[in-house]
Amino acid sequence: DQQVKQNSPSLSVQEGRISILNCDYTNSMFDYFLWYKKYPAEGPTFLISISSIKDKNEDGRFTVFLNKSAKHLSLHIVPSQPGDSAVYFCAATFGSARQLTFGSGTQLTVLP
């Protein structure tokens, strides 16, 4: 059973526009959420995170929104750049081990 879901396998956006990547989760125990970016032949790189006590966190061009009642989070990238083209994974954690539970990823392509 997939506890973290990314229902869009791919997304294409024009350079300079906003990219919105979505993620849903089912386990209400999750209390910390992260986004990772992955380029081919590289490991995932940490982007941004949010605690369940917040509903928004910003870092430069990246903003993560959390809607706990809907069990939904989203990553906004503004403005999108061609270098943002990568696979984006959302992940969630809880408990003492803090193991990451990942979604299946969304391939973002930013077109010049």
Partner: protein
């Protein structure tokens, strides 16, 4: 500063063999976690170690084992390899275990192919 380093980068084995994958965490990081990523899916948690003790185990068979050494490096061992073990194996490190706002940092992985 060096990031998480994994070796080897690629490995080809046949069914029934065993394999050992190695990971060196970021300097100062004491927790190491292992993940398996098969094509088209997100990474799946296998093990977490902190201060040489196992802190968490994912839903993997007993053919998978790991350990952490006094210098905080780690090995993942897989016995009796199956075709389905073909995947990218990722190692991640963090300063400690169990702290939410300490994100895990990943190495570039070992690509394991089983023939």
């Amino acid at each position: 500063d060096a990031g998480v380093t994994q070796s080897p980068t690629h490995l080809i084995k046949t069914r029934g063999q065993h394999v050992t994958l190695r990971c060196s965490p970021i300097s100062g990081h004491k927790s190491v976690s292992w993940y398996q990523q098969v094509l088209g899916q997100g990474p799946q948690f296998i093990f977490q170690y902190y201060e040489k003790e196992e802190r968490g185990r994912g839903n993997f068979p007993d053919r998978f084992s790991a350990r952490q050494f006094p210098n905080y490096s780690s090995e993942l061992n897989v016995n009796a390899l199956l075709l389905g073990d073909s995947a990218l194996y990722l190692c991640a490190s963090s300063l400690t275990a169990g702290t939410a706002n300490q994100p895990q940092h990943f190495g570039d992985g070992t690509r394991l192919s089983i023939l």
